[in-house]
């Protein structure tokens, strides 16, 4: 999906949480959305998902395969009808829990809601199974949602998003609470989907290893954008995150690897660098 952000800004509780973002994530690729806590990543994802209406600027998407649209002029995402939007854009939230005793199949079937008729019939009954198989979660289909591990849950959430058959996939910290091998396989999977994807990430080394493009937010503004190799430099990371670091080159992939130094005086721990000796699949 062609996605363009022009001067997007919005307030939450009186503060400009997102303050004038211009960006063009590359279509069909994985874009990392970086920035410290409170930089506006989650709010920006909600704006891109069309769940919040920006107070200024616009999130523009291509008109899509809408037969009524002869012109290909981009449209603001919040002007798309809700159901049509939900068929094109899927959002995975950071914290997603349920009190409902659902099976895995039930959870993935939620992704079909934008396609269902008023009586609940799915025009494509095989879509859930397809999404489960695509996300390599078919073996979990009959399991109770509450019995899954964190990694399995995230895999099922991805299957639910795939069941929406989105052209744009938005992920809010998808690797949170996952072990390192699950983090690597999840991001590799998402990268290889060929779907335009924007993922908020905390782990700079994961972003450096998997993203084609990164957007670095700081205080609601865009501090930098571009290929990780060009963007993730010590000076920028020092300015945005306030950390002292060196950027090395991965011996096998050639991607940047960020090595953090201990903070001089601040006793608060910095994010530890995950092992980088395993080449991403």
């Amino acid at each position: 999906m062609e996605l363009t952000l022009t001067g997007v800004r919005t307030r939450l509780g009186g503060r400009w949480v997102v303050d004038g973002i211009d960006a063009t994530p590359p279509p069909g690729r994985l874009t990392g959305l970086l920035g410290p806590n409170g930089a506006g990543k989650t709010t920006l994802l909600r704006l891109v998902a069309g769940l919040l209406v920006p107070e200024g600027g616009a999130v523009l998407v291509d008109a899509g395969a809408d037969p009524g649209a002869a012109a290909t002029a981009p449209v603001p995402v919040h002007d798309l009808p809700r159901r049509a939007r939900a068929r094109r854009i899927a959002l995975l939230e950071q914290e997603s829990s349920s009190t409902v005793p659902l099976s895995v199949h039930d959870v993935v079937a939620l992704g079909r809601i934008p396609y269902r008729t008023a009586w609940g019939a799915d025009p494509d009954p095989a879509a859930v199974t397809r999404a489960l198989e695509h996300a390599r979660a078919a073996h979990l289909a009959d399991r109770a949602w509450s019995s899954l591990s964190g990694g399995e849950r995230q895999r099922v959430h991805v299957a639910r998003a795939l069941a929406q058959e989105p052209e744009l996939l938005l992920l809010d910290e998808p690797t949170n609470h996952l072990d390192v091998s699950t983090q690597l396989s999840l991001l590799a999977f998402v990268r290889d989907l060929g779907t335009t994807t924007v993922a908020a990430l905390h782990d700079l080394n994961l972003a450096a290893a998997f993203c084609e493009h990164v957007l670095v937010l700081s205080g609601g503004r865009l501090a930098a954008a571009g290929h990780p190799r060009d963007v993730l430099r010590p000076a920028l990371l020092s300015e945005v995150y306030g950390v002292d670091c060196d950027v090395l080159t991965h011996p096998r992939t050639g991607r940047p690897v960020i090595a953090f130094a201990e903070p001089a005086s601040d006793p608060a721990p910095t994010a530890p660098a995950p092992p980088t000796d395993g080449a991403p699949a």
Binding site: L91, S96, S98, T99, P101, A118, W145
Partner: protein, 343 residues
């Protein structure tokens, strides 16, 4: 409960539930001080509905069936169905497994209206006063929840609690100040929920509200499913979260108000039955809602039959029976590990 259980098809569940409900109505009408046969009941109903082949039954017997027991049984069925439906929808809308139809202060408001009639002698029909009380409580709850902030289910629940407490205090005050022995028993029976006063008009009020609101709720099943992972997730699935929640909550409140108006606040049906039914149907509302309604109907008819016969000639408020059955069922559900998802 590691593996999700296999679930029977909806058509089977509806057929079994429907047959059970018809049998329940025919059988429970025969139960009571005057001995009747199911055939008599069938013929009496058949004659009134002008079904060909129905043979006339003696006038006295016909009056017992048609004027006394049938309206009460049908009211119980409609109220049970409505409460189970309202509870299931409320639990999904607030994402709170402990939600019940009375969550927004409705039962306390209705009680205050009813007590005003029973004790103070306000010149209104009791169901009208109860319904007005329920609506006033709903309006107060929504107004309070709306002040100075976004409407969230959490705020609505807290506002409902406050309104509930206020109305309960009002009710207690009125009783304390004015009630005498006889009116006290009448009030108590109303507060515990009772179908003793059910007439054909009660049956029409409860049945009508159920038919109108029930259809809308069942048609909203998919939108309710979308709330499983919360508001943002529902919005991302194309649901207008705000409008859906408040429309459906208001409809549930109107349905509940109609039920409370004819029967008082019968507890546990709306809280426990949706959980029990979802063990069989699974959580999809397209399956859960109609089956919960049928189960609620059958359950409350039997509970009311017990209430009016166990200590014959004295009647127990049916709310005591539903609590006596509801609490152990709730305990069993907790033991079965459905509490895992409730943590």
């Amino acid at each position: 409960m590691d593996r999700a259980p296999r679930r029977p098809p909806l058509t089977v569940l509806l057929a079994v539930g429907g047959a059970l409900l018809v049998a329940t109505v025919l059988v429970t009408v025969t139960i009571g001080p005057a001995d009747l046969a199911v055939a008599d009941v069938g013929h009496s109903i058949g004659a009134h509905l002008r079904i060909p082949g129905a043979r006339p039954v003696p006038v006295l017997l016909d009056a017992i069936v048609w004027e006394l027991r049938l309206p009460r049984v049908l009211t119980a069925a409609a109220v049970g169905a409505g409460l189970a439906l309202a509870g299931a929808v409320m639990q999904s809308l607030t994402r709170n497994p402990l939600a019940d139809p009375y969550l927004l202060g409705l039962s306390s408001g209705a009680s205050l209206g009813a007590v005003a009639v029973l004790v103070v002698g306000v010149g209104l029909l009791l169901p009208v006063a109860a319904f007005a009380g329920a609506l006033a409580a709903l309006a107060a709850t929504l107004a309070l929840a709306r002040t100075g902030g976004v409407l969230t289910p959490g705020r609505a629940v807290l506002a409902g609690l406050a309104v509930s407490q206020l109305a309960a205090a009002g009710t207690s005050f009125v009783i304390f100040w004015t009630a005498t022995g006889d009116s006290y028993r009448e009030i108590l029976s109303w507060l515990m929920g009772s179908l003793a006063g059910a007439t054909w008009s009660s049956a029409w009020i409860a049945g009508g509200a159920l038919a109108v609101v029930g259809v809308v709720l069942v048609l909203s099943a998919l939108r309710l499913d979308a709330f499983a992972f919360g508001d943002t997730s529902a919005a991302a699935l194309g649901i207008d979260v705000g409008r859906t929640r408040w429309t459906l909550m208001t409809l549930v409140a109107l349905l509940t108000g109609a039920m409370v108006a004819v029967s008082g606040a019968i507890g546990f049906v709306g809280l426990v039955l949706p959980h029990a039914v979802s063990v069989v149907t699974g959580p999809a509302h397209r399956r859960l809602l109609p089956v919960a309604a049928l189960t609620g109907a059958v359950f409350l008819v039997w509970a009311d039959t017990l209430a009016r016969t166990v200590f014959d000639p004295r009647e127990l408020p049916v709310g005591i029976i539903t609590a006596l059955i509801g609490v152990p069922v709730f305990a069993v559900l907790l033991r079965r590990g459905r509490g895992v998802a409730w943590s």
